[in-house]
């Protein structure tokens, strides 16, 4: 058992070396993680579905090809968990929604196709907030995911399952998505590394859309070295995503160990304002001191429009969501209401209105098709998804477009310009990922606005399109992880990873493990 647990506690990079040398079979490694899932996931709830048979078959195939010296992909034999929002051909992809409970993806997302081509072992699908809307994973239609560091607390979200499965050693690598912080925030709250790439760095083809101008796919891992390995596997231009960037993908895993000599780090004045927990603030300041001891220079900077970021985000994201989620109409795929019941209900309403001679009521009565849409959507979507569709539809409706959406797009440019300005003076921006450590399950479910404000430090990177990484930088007095966020200019993922790696070399926060 001890060799078993030391195997799953070693890094993905170390596991890959053992696999490549022939000192470890993928079947053994995959089985070790399946055993870990079997013993821990009843408590954590990170996985919606574990693909045991397929994973073991993939692993056996990799082992066989390796033994006969056949060519293998760059992650050959390494298990990877995938957030249940990326299409995987012929398997269920639910987005943690009743709407898609039985949906089988007709094709692979580009990210899943790249993982398959890399011979990664697709071990299972992780839980999330429904359609990636939320910051606690409590909006999943199917199950709660618990924070491995304290099972009474939320893992964050929306990629809560993706972060929790890495934190609890149920997968060495996992794929998340980040629209307003959904990789970095759960990574921070679960004490793992999570990277949101530059908008367009990773293809969104086959990623179920939430807010198309903000969504990005990215890696979660134990270390920045492991995150680099996964990022270089999934990044790159894709003809099927017109917003993907046609730029070469650096060999992140090769450069990650080179420290950034004389790196200039910016601390954002506005990040250390009221609301920031004192233990989080001091852990972040200590992390910055570590950088100084490694030769970094530190400068205070200002992002004057950052205070508007959450408001800007909660206009743009719901507007795009309301448009994207219009496709769930109960016709082409997804949940449809019981038709006979619906038609009966409608006939009864018509009869009552006719009896009352209510002409206005009759003229407003839904057609059967409209009622089918309305009932199917209302039954299929959860409360938070409906709230955001309503907010976005309102903001885009006649008379409000200029006041909300157009205005938010202008403020978005101001937010970006603040970053462009700041990055003239510094190479990286360092700060907290969240103002507080992990909150209790249920603590914020009845207060949507407070839940939205959790995104304070993360949404700006999505609005500006810049890359960001979250890495462990300490623990509070309750033993909950604290995350450090680093931000870099567009397409400087390499700088982020090298910056994260040099900090990891000087500290051991990333090596701590929760007791489950």
């Amino acid at each position: 058992m001890s060799s078993h647990s030391s195997l799953i506690e070693s890094s993905a990079t170390a596991q890959l070396e053992l696999l490549m040398r022939g000192d470890l079979f993928s079947v053994e490694l995959t089985q070790a993680y399946l055993d870990s899932i079997a013993s821990r996931d009843a408590n954590v709830g990170a996985f919606l579905r574990v693909e045991k048979d397929r994973a073991l078959a993939q692993a056996a195939s990799v082992d066989k090809r390796r033994q006969s010296n056949k060519p293998l992909g760059k992650l050959a034999g390494l298990p990877v968990a995938v957030k249940d929002v990326l299409c995987d051909q012929d398997t269920i992809t639910t987005c943690a929604s009743r709407m898609l409970e039985n949906f089988r993806a007709p094709y692979d997302s580009t990210v899943v196709a790249k993982l398959k081509a890399a011979d990664a072992i697709l071990i299972g699908r992780t839980n999330m907030d429904e359609f990636a809307m939320g910051g606690s994973t409590e909006n999943s239609a199917f199950q709660i995911t618990r924070n491995p560091w304290d099972l009474e607390r939320a893992p964050g979200g929306s990629s809560g399952g993706a972060a929790a499965c890495v934190a609890a050693d149920m997968a060495p690598l996992s794929i998340g998505t980040d629209t307003g912080g959904s990789i970095r925030q759960p990574a921070g709250l679960c004490g793992v590394v999570g990277l949101k790439p530059t908008y367009g760095r990773v293809s969104r083809f086959g990623l179920v859309a939430f807010a198309s101008s903000l969504d990005q796919v990215g890696p979660l891992a134990r270390t920045s070295q492991d995150a680099a390995l996964l990022l270089e596997t999934i990044a790159g231009h894709d003809l099927r995503d017109a917003t993907s960037l046609d730029r070469p993908v650096p060999a992140y895993s090769q450069s990650v160990a080179e420290p950034l000599a004389g790196v200039r780090i910016g601390l954002v004045r506005e990040h250390f304002a009221e609301g920031l927990d004192s233990e989080v603030a001091s852990a972040v300041r200590d992390a910055v001191a570590v950088y100084e001891s490694l030769g970094a220079t530190v400068k205070e900077i200002s992002l004057p429009h950052s205070k508007h970021a959450v408001a800007t985000y909660y206009v743009i994201a719901p507007c795009e969501a309301s448009s994207n989620l219009a496709r769930y109409d109960g016709v082409h795929y997804g949940h449809r209401t019981d038709e006979a019941e619906m038609l009966e209900e409608l006939a009864a309403e018509r009869k009552a209105l006719e009896a009352a001679k209510d002409e206005v009521g009759l003229s407003r009565l839904d057609s059967s098709l409209v009622r089918m849409y309305r009932k199917s959507r209302s039954e299929g979507f959860g409360a938070e998804v409906k709230r955001r569709i309503m907010l976005g539809t309102y903001a885009l409706s006649a008379g409000y477009y200029d006041a909300y959406y157009l205005k938010a797009l202008k403020v978005r440019r101001l937010i970006r310009q603040d970053f462009d300005e700041a990055f003239r003076e510094v190479d990286l921006i360092a700060g907290p990922v969240t103002a507080q450590t992990a909150f209790k399950i249920g603590e914020m479910v009845d207060d949507p606005l407070s839940m939205y404000l959790v995104d304070l430090y993360t949404v700006s990177a999505n609005l500006a399109g810049i890359p960001g990484i979250s890495l462990p930088c300490g623990f509070d007095k309750s033993g909950l992880p604290i995350g450090l966020q680093l931000l870099a200019p567009p397409l400087e993922e390499e700088r982020l990873l090298r910056g994260a790696h040099m900090y990891e070399q000087a500290t051991d926060w990333h090596q701590r493990r929760p007791e489950i």
């Binding site: 949906f103 089988r104 007709p106 094709y107 530059t198 908008y199 367009g200 101008s213 003809l239 917003t243 960037l245 508007h308 408001a311 800007t312 909660y314 206009v315 219009a326 109409d329 109960g330 016709v331 082409h332 795929y333 997804g334 949940h335 449809r336 038709e339 619906m342 059967s368 098709l369 409209v370 089918m372 849409y373 309305r374 009932k375 959507r377 209302s378 409906k386 709230r387 569709i389 309503m390 907010l391 539809t393 309102y394 409000y400 006041a403 909300y404 157009l406 205005k407 938010a408 797009l409 202008k410 403020v411 978005r412 440019r413 101001l414 949507p448 606005l449 939205y452 399109g465 810049i466």
Partner: protein, 95 residues
């Protein structure tokens, strides 16, 4: 701009959603609170600022006009709640 219950009702039709009376009451309160919060954007001076629709400016992306494989009909219909092997079926639209 305070959001009213009748706004919420109208928007629910536009959004093709349906709510019970108690849900409408709750939503009206929640949306009013969120709208009040995002209304602060109106105070930000944005004269002469171009809206930013995408985070990285991607200009026209052209692809060559080649015939590529597309989703076969049986696969496109496979997830449909109701179909007749040729088309998606919906409730009667007229009448």
């Amino acid at each position: 701009m305070a959001i009213t219950r009748s706004d919420v009702e109208k928007v629910s039709l536009l959004a093709r959603l349906q709510f019970s009376d108690s849900e409408l009451d709750r939503l009206t309160g929640e949306l009013a609170q969120i709208v009040e919060y995002v209304d602060h954007l109106s105070e930000v001076p944005t004269e002469g600022i171009e809206p930013m629709a995408h985070a990285v400016e991607v200009h026209n992306v052209f692809v060559s006009d080649e015939v590529m494989p597309s989703l076969p009909r049986d696969k496109a219909l496979a997830n449909a709640p109701r179909h007749n092997d040729r088309a998606f079926l919906v409730p009667p639209v007229l009448g």
